[in-house]
Amino acid sequence: MAIPTKLFAPCFRHQKLGLFLIIMVGIMVYVATFAMSAEATLSAITFTWDRGMHSRLTVEIPATDDESSTPQTDRVQQVVSVLHAMPQIATVRPLPDDEVTRLLKPWISQPELLKVLPVPTLIDIERKPDSLLTAEDVRQQLKSIVSDVRVDDHTSWLSDLNNLVDGLTLIAAFVILLTGITLIIAVSLICHAIIATEQETMSLLHVLGATDDDIAHHFLIHTRRLSWPASLVGFLLAMASTALLLYFLRHFADPSMLEWSHWMVLGAMTFLVPIIAVIIASLAAKTSVLKLLHTMP
């Protein structure tokens, strides 16, 4: 290398500019990595929900306390038989009582109440792939057995959820873009400050025959050296925050529903953030120094 490594080290220590650079890079990498990993996590959760719910319908048979009518278990049995007979349905699964209890638990915290309340029976059905069967088709088929049967399609609320996640993805992309721009501006300002205080050294280096590229490259190397550890710390903190987020969301999705290749892509994309941040910071340093040097003789 043309210029000795320690030539500009004191410039970066001057007025703690190097420390400022380290903190800025660390914060920017944290924000960008967390934005990306949080968005990836939400997308993954939505994906698992979408995949799990897209082909499913839920049949709800209200409980009846009328002793003159058909008993609830018979009504359920009849409905299940009709559903099994429908060619467009792949699976029919009445939800066991304990699963219904678990679903209702957030709204009815006292288990004793569930025994006295008229809790409906739920039947989970899965349509065959490419089936055009709608909730209304199923309801029409079951109406003769259970007049007040309800059939829920999950498409509507999944669509709302997908829209929400799409919006969050855009916001995350905007946050990442904003952190990138902020990083470029911060590094440029630091380089401006260093050049301003070290103008005499820059002039001397020019007089001694240094090229603009020599000097700018030296700034690139220093910035890269300071950015790496800062970037790594920011990345690890963001990963810890994401792990915390996953922990809080553990009841809402099962990460094992995603294939390993999907996790690999998400991990690689997230791991690219600190690497790209270091590259951006280093190139921003070189570019801004080159611009400044061109204004000097």
């Binding site: 000795p4 080290a9 280096l205």
Partner: protein, 237 residues
């Protein structure tokens, strides 16, 4: 870069060169002269006469407001920015205030031009140590500038200026911050360098030294070139 036919044998040629830092205030006004290669020249004149500015034009720290400057036969008016480093590497500069980098040792300071030129590390170490010994500070190679006396600092600065064997050495009041005895020793050093083939242009306002060494002298006064003393050795434009 344009090569001037009439100035290929000249060290430097100034043709009607003027320099202004602000409108209407000329630091140099229509300066014209030519210096043949290999000589030793004094540049004299009172403080503020424009000596430093003329040297700055030669090492391209400034661009002339008007006129043309040829250096080693190259027209600096048309020199591209990326050509300047190669030209500057043929020039050594000694400053009155030494301009050593405080956090580099004497050896690192003196070796800087060789590093910038991409010299081999072994050669760089060996040659710079030899040179520091030659200028009389071989025992202080690992000392930082703040640990050196004014004379020692100037010797390191001279070593830095000549370490890559320049064609031209420019010295701007090199003895301004040292005592008379050291000044005379430094002048002898410049004279020896000149005898080894490096042209020297030395700006000074110390008349006693100019008279003692009897070298051709350009005299500046208020931005004008007023005389070319010992003109027999100074080329005509």
């Amino acid at each position: 870069m344009v090569k001037a036919d009439n100035s290929t044998t000249m060290l430097t040629v100034f043709e009607g060169v003027s320099l202004s830092y602000s409108p209407g205030q000329k630091v140099l006004d229509d300066v014209t002269f030519a210096l043949p290669s290999g000589g030793f020249y004094f540049l004299t004149g009172p403080s503020g006469a424009g000596k430093s500015s003329l040297l700055r034009l030669m090492y391209q720290a400034e661009k002339p407001s008007s006129g043309r400057i040829y250096l080693f036969g190259h027209d600096l008016t048309y020199a591209r920015r990326d050509e300047l480093p190669l030209l500057r590497r043929q020039i050594g500069v000694v400053f009155q205030d030494f301009r050593l980098i405080p956090h580099l040792t004497a050896l690192e300071n003196a070796a800087l031009p060789l590093r910038l030129a991409g010299a081999d590390e072994d050669y760089l170490q060996r040659h710079t140590k030899e040179l520091l010994t030659w200028v009389g500070v071989g025992h202080r190679t690992e000392a930082y500038p703040s640990e050196l006396s004014g004379g020692e600092q100037q010797r390191v600065a001279i070593a830095r200026a000549v370490v890559n064997k320049p064609k031209l050495l420019l010295a701007d009041e090199p003895t301004g911050n040292v005592d008379d005895e050291t000044a005379i020793k430094l002048f002898h050093l410049f004279d020896e360098l000149n005898k080894m083939g490096t042209a020297v242009i030395l700006a000074t306002h110390q008349h006693n030294l100019v008279e003692r060494f009897r070298k051709p002298a350009l005299r500046l006064s208020a931005g004008h070139l007023t005389s070319l003393a010992s003109s027999a050795r100074v080329g005509e434009v």
